[in-house]
Amino acid sequence: MRCPICGFEFDEGQSSSCGGCPLRGGCSLVRCPNCGYETPRDSRAVNLLDRIFGRKKGHDGA
């Protein structure tokens, strides 16, 4: 995915860990390893719509 702040391209697996954050584990945000900006990972509602309408998951920076 692409960070909306600094434009850095990274895989979700590269997202730096959020050690010490009380929401760790239950949080749906991905943190950019470059600038620290947090952005939502995925939407369950949109995924559900995708499944219903048979659309493949995109990788266009969302």
Binding site: I5, G7, F8, E9, L29, G36, Y37, R44, G61
Partner: protein, 663 residues
């Protein structure tokens, strides 16, 4: 061996049987994968002397030549900030590698090339490794290694290190560089503005020692105020005082900090190179480029910012608060759902005290659900929609650049725009993100301003809903917040000890938002909000019910009614302040109720909105403040916001009366 490092003539490279190669690059660019592909599985891991930073060393072979390969910790530029970056720079300087391989993410060349240019400027014998070429190509970016090599006068190799692709070519490039067949003497990789160039020429003449870097690079670092370089110069150079003097002179002539001018020049050169060497499929960005420039320049950027704020108001305050909330809260909950639930529970449960837990004025269903789903959810949904549009368009980093100067006045840098913007979503999360700021001073100031003057999305939405009927009221509220932000920030900058931060952020291209991205981001945030807010609002209603039973709620709201009276506000505001402490948006929703019931209006409504926005951070944020900044700072912030909010409210009330302003 570093070109221009003034270390004497090259030894006969062709006779050498071993050489040292250092891998450098940002974190997460696949540097370890390149290291693994070069050296095989065996690596010697040790802590770098005097630090806890791990350093990997391994061996590789190209023909007869044996290579010792060093994997340095991630670094973003030669100006080191973190311990890892300091170690990486020390390794480059003290271990004297014969070749430096700069490993970069091929997808992000515009972000990566500034450091390449710095390394070339420093005189290192450099091989540029464009890693993750497969991802770059599949994402539509097609860097041309040969073209880039010609532009930089240095070998450039494309690799996919995890698959071992391109590693043989990388080894050959290293070998050719060692043999001196690559990288002829090159022109300056980057030129800076004239005052800086002249200062650098003088500095190069003045420096009398060798520093493992080219004199030009030492000069650039010194004029940027790099503490370690300045320390070295202060010990070794008689002309040290002249260096300090030159820094001030250059900054006066440039009208900006040297580090800023250097970053700008590096970025501009990197952009120019990318334009030349990328066979990108997206060359239709002329209009967007022009618009991008307009958003950054103060003369045009500020009116654009005001337009953006106005658009947010129109969408959240008018569409959200007037149209959608009128339906969801006014019609659905007030006229349909709540009367139905009241009568249902009155029939099902014979005990009024138990009925009150679920329904009536403070019931978990009639208040908790009405606030969270009927009132706040529609407002945050439209706010998140606008926010996602801004985020996906690439406007936010431009806002950071535009506000950098204003932020400097309050002891922050443009980088602090990240937590501040996140604070408009949720201040608690944003406080955690303040960790990414450079200095302790900046982290404390950002935490204070987030607690005080940055309303979260739900609070912002409801306040816009409360004040939407009067543009004057909204303008006063906004002006007071901006004034408080600047005044408190400026005072903190003076009072809190510590250095001021330096800001450097690469700007990604401005683009037309993708509808799918906007939808995903909006829905993801709405889902997060529903998941978080509904249980909390239900719990808050439960607490209020217990407080009502025990009398604690009445005692607290009674106590908070005193400052409310002092501000000329109705006693019911005591309850709203208490709600606001439980959760910011819960308090704002309480204020919305009072306004709808006709209990509060006009100037009092503006004063109440200001006090409530500046009021104590909610419980969750207080806890994060404590965790992130420690008990003393957290307590100081809580007390400051508590007293400051009422003081500002009183000042505003008096000023409006004195000026004869009524809204």
């Amino acid at each position: 061996m570093r070109r221009g490092a003034d270390q004497g003539p090259k030894v006969l490279e062709s006779l050498r049987r071993s050489a040292k190669v250092a891998l450098v690059g940002r974190p997460n660019v696949g540097k370890s994968a390149v290291f693994g592909a070069l050296t095989g599985t065996y690596a010697n891991v040790s802590n770098y002397p005097g630090t806890t930073v791990e350093v990997f060393r391994g061996r590789s072979r190209v023909g007869e030549l044996e290579l010792e390969v060093l994997d340095t910790p991630g670094m973003y530029s030669l100006m080191s900030i973190t311990e890892e970056e300091k170690v990486a720079r020390d390794m480059l300087l003290l271990e004297s590698p014969d070749v430096v391989v700069h490993v970069v993410d091929a997808k992000n060349l515009e972000l990566e090339l500034p450091m390449t240019l710095q390394l070339l400027e420093a005189g290192f014998d450099l091989v540029l490794c464009l890693n993750m070429m497969d991802e770059a190509i599949s994402s539509g970016v097609q860097p041309d290694p040969e073209a880039l090599s010609r532009e930089l006068s240095a070998p450039v190799v494309g690799t996919v290190a995890v698959k071992g692709e391109g590693i043989d070519r990388l080894k050959e490039a290293i070998a050719r560089t060692l043999e001196g067949k690559e990288g002829p003497d090159r022109a300056l990789p980057v030129r800076y503005p004239e005052p800086l160039e002249r200062a650098l020429e003088e500095l190069e003449r003045l420096l009398s020692r060798d520093y493992h870097l080219s004199r030009r690079a030492v000069g650039v670092l010194a004029l940027q105020g790099d503490p370690e370089v300045l320390k070295a110069l202060s010990l070794a150079e008689e002309s040290y005082q002249r260096v300090i003097q030159m820094k001030a002179e250059v900054e006066r002539r440039l009208g900006k900090e040297v580090s800023y001018a250097v970053a700008e020049a590096l970025r501009a050169r990197a952009r120019e190179l990318v334009e030349r060497v990328i066979r990108a499929s997206e060359r239709r960005k002329r209009v967007l480029d022009r618009l991008s420039d307009l958003t950054i320049r103060p003369l045009t950027g500020l009116p654009i910012l005001l337009l953006v704020v106005y658009a947010i108001y129109e969408v959240v305050g008018v569409l959200g608060a007037q149209v959608i909330v009128d339906f969801t809260e006014g019609y659905l909950f007030e006229e349909r759902i709540n009367p139905f639930l009241d009568s249902l529970f009155e029939r099902l449960i014979p005990y009024p005290v138990i009925q009150d837990l679920f329904v009536h004025e403070h019931g978990m269903l009639t208040l908790g659900l009405r606030y969270s789903l009927g009132l706040i959810l529609p407002l945050v949904t439209v706010f998140f929609l606008v926010f996602a549009l801004l985020e996906d368009s690439g406007y936010l980093p431009r806002l950071a650049l535009l506000l950098d100067r204003a932020f400097k006045a309050v002891g922050l840098s443009g980088r602090a725009v990240i937590p501040m913007v996140l604070g408009l979503g949720c201040d608690t999360m944003a406080t955690i993100v303040t960790r990414t700021l450079e200095t302790r001073k900046e982290r404390i100031i950002a935490t204070l301003l987030l607690s005080l003057a940055i309303p979260c999305s739900a609070q912002l939405g409801v306040i816009m809903g409360v004040l939407h009927s009067s543009a004057k009221a909204l303008l006063i509220w906004l002006s007071v917040l901006v004034a408080v932000f600047l005044a408190v920030g400026a005072a903190s900058k003076r009072l809190i000890p510590g250095g001021n931060p330096v800001f450097f952020m690469e700007i990604p291209p401005l683009r037309v938002p993708s509808p799918r991205n906007v939808l995903v981001k909006t829905m993801a945030r709405v889902e997060w909000y529903v998941k978080e807010v509904v249980p909390i609002f239900l719990a808050a209603s439960l607490l209020i019910w217990i407080g009502n039973l025990t009398g604690l709620f009445q005692a607290l709201t009674g106590a908070l009614a005193y400052p409310a009276r002092w501000l000329g506000l109705p006693d019911e505001m005591g309850r709203v302040f208490l709600y606001g402490f439980l959760r910011r948006d819960y308090g704002a929703a309480g204020l919305y109720d009072l306004k709808e019931a006709g209990v509060i209006s006009g100037n009092s409504l503006v004063v109440a909105s200001v006090v409530l926005t500046l009021f104590l951070p909610c419980v969750a944020q207080l806890m994060v403040n404590y965790k992130e900044r420690g008990p003393r700072v957290a307590a100081a912030i809580a007390l400051t916001t508590l007293f400051f909010s009422f003081s500002v409210g009183w000042t505003l009330k008096s000023a409006l009366e004195w000026l004869g302003v009524s809204v």
